[in-house]
Amino acid sequence: MPATLDLYKMYETLTTEEQQIWQAAQNFVDKEFMPIISAHHRDATFPVELIPKLGKLGFLGSQLPEEYGCAGINNRAYGLIMQELERGDSALRSVASVQGALVMYPIWRYGSQQQKEHWLPQLAAGEKVGCFGLTEPDFGSNPAGMLTNAKPHKDGFLLNGSKMWITNGNIADVAVVWAKLDGKVHGFLVPKDTPGFTATEIKGKFSLRASITSELSFNDCFIPKENMLPEAQGLKAPLSCLSQARYGIAWGAIGSALATYHCALDYSKTRIQFDKPIASFQLIQQQLVEMASDITHAQLLAFRLAELKDQKQVRPAMISLAKRNNVRMALNTARTARNILAANGIVDEYPIMRHMMNLETVITYEGTHEVHTLILGQHLTGVSAFE
């Protein structure tokens, strides 16, 4: 079992089934992913051959019902999977988050029976890949302003516009695209071979290098009416998907922090300066304690959030608090770990810089740190700072 941190014995509260799921995710990351991530990070590629493996293990859309080929697990077990995937790399967790929370979830919640039966089993198995198009070049934190639009045409719609920062855009078989129809936001399923639909990979990223990120453009794409998500009306629909994904990020960030914390802890015990391990110096111990303390806080939030979500008591502000806190915690932990490793912290022999650069994305995607601050601000004061 890889090193974890369980000062408050929270992982001891897991059921046998949750422990087995956690162990399966750990084994997958350690055996299949850790040996190859460094090369993929250097080459800015994602190991697409792992997607069917993720599917076979049940890690894609794992909370959705068994009737669609999914595992139907609870929120705590799902969170543990996200934690382990992001202990590997944020790119790996992002693939599972997008497929499960942003593609399968809206099809399951807002789709027709025919859409569910057609797409969900293939997406769960990793035989097909999906992407989620909400953000646009000029509309990030303000998705309500989106320009992408659909106009009625024959037995369907003509879709025009573009979407930016779309994970898996270039490898997706289907895109869940959010567009305005008569001024109201609707969801459309756009298969990759739809005429007028193109995906262009965004190059030159310093962050999430092992993830495929794309720009999607739609030029008079004809979308048959049966490809519209019938139950999704208004911005609440895509925002409900983001809540699912943000929940996974709150857990994933813990995994990233565990990776950098353990790297720094191990390093500090073996790095000799002034004839003794640097772990013996008070300033190093203080940094390790701050990291462990912050990780423990994040774990408490995640475990409680899982309970609330299983009890259907979770509210968006709770998810914002956990996403906001845990990602900032993970980024601070990575920076502290880099500090402990000093020069060695910047080479990819160690995972720290890779995680730190990834987290520069994670802290702004799925709602920036500031947007989550304002969601909480509105929740506390009753006054929106957006409007």
């Binding site: 087995q20 399966a24 068994e66």
Partner: protein, 249 residues
Amino acid sequence: MKIVVCVKQVPDTATKIKVGADAKTIDSDGVEYVISPYDELAVEHAVRIKENNDDVEIVAVSMGSADSDKILRHALAMGADRGILIENDNSCDSFVTAQSLANAIKEENPDLVLCGVKAVDDDCSQVGGILATLLEVPFIWSAAELSYEDNKVTAQNELAGETYTVECELPCVVSIQKGSVEARINSLISIRKARKKEVNNVAATTSEAVMQTEKLELPAAKVGGRIVGEGPEAVAELFKLLREEAKVL
């Protein structure tokens, strides 16, 4: 065809062992228990035989405390069909363990019994052999590779740089060593299905252990080495110290 696989719960191999207050057992506080890795490989071999042949039933058997249910569920998720937990909280030696296992296994009347070459907690490597003796069937020790065809198993093992191939008609007992086969990672669906599979709890059927642990202690801490010099001129000093101080020459 029926295969019985014996599995044992052991401390996670990454555990930093501490001696308990009784100085006879380990301090279990904070210790994570897992299926012994060689036993896990034995389950994997059994499941592969099942996947390649019709009408194979796999029964996982464990002797240990009630929480050994956890490792039986692991074996069930890998593909075993049902489990038997021989409940026993007392410490026991290899003979007593094998005796209880043999009594339970006799009732199953299996064609093939698999177990790990050793449990990684005590490294005894004795249960498989004693079990075969009590069941009055042949025993193949430490098979790194295993295949099954026409009511016989073929096992390969490397000893002293040579590869030995052994064939044996069933029934027999085979203990499994690490080879080319790796234990599978359980899928979420298989883990969920395992929860519903049957595990029978039975009482241990043996007497008190003959062997008792008198004392458990950690190895002495390693002391740092000493460099006596460099190059040919240090050889004489090294010989002297090896002869007079270390007394190994």
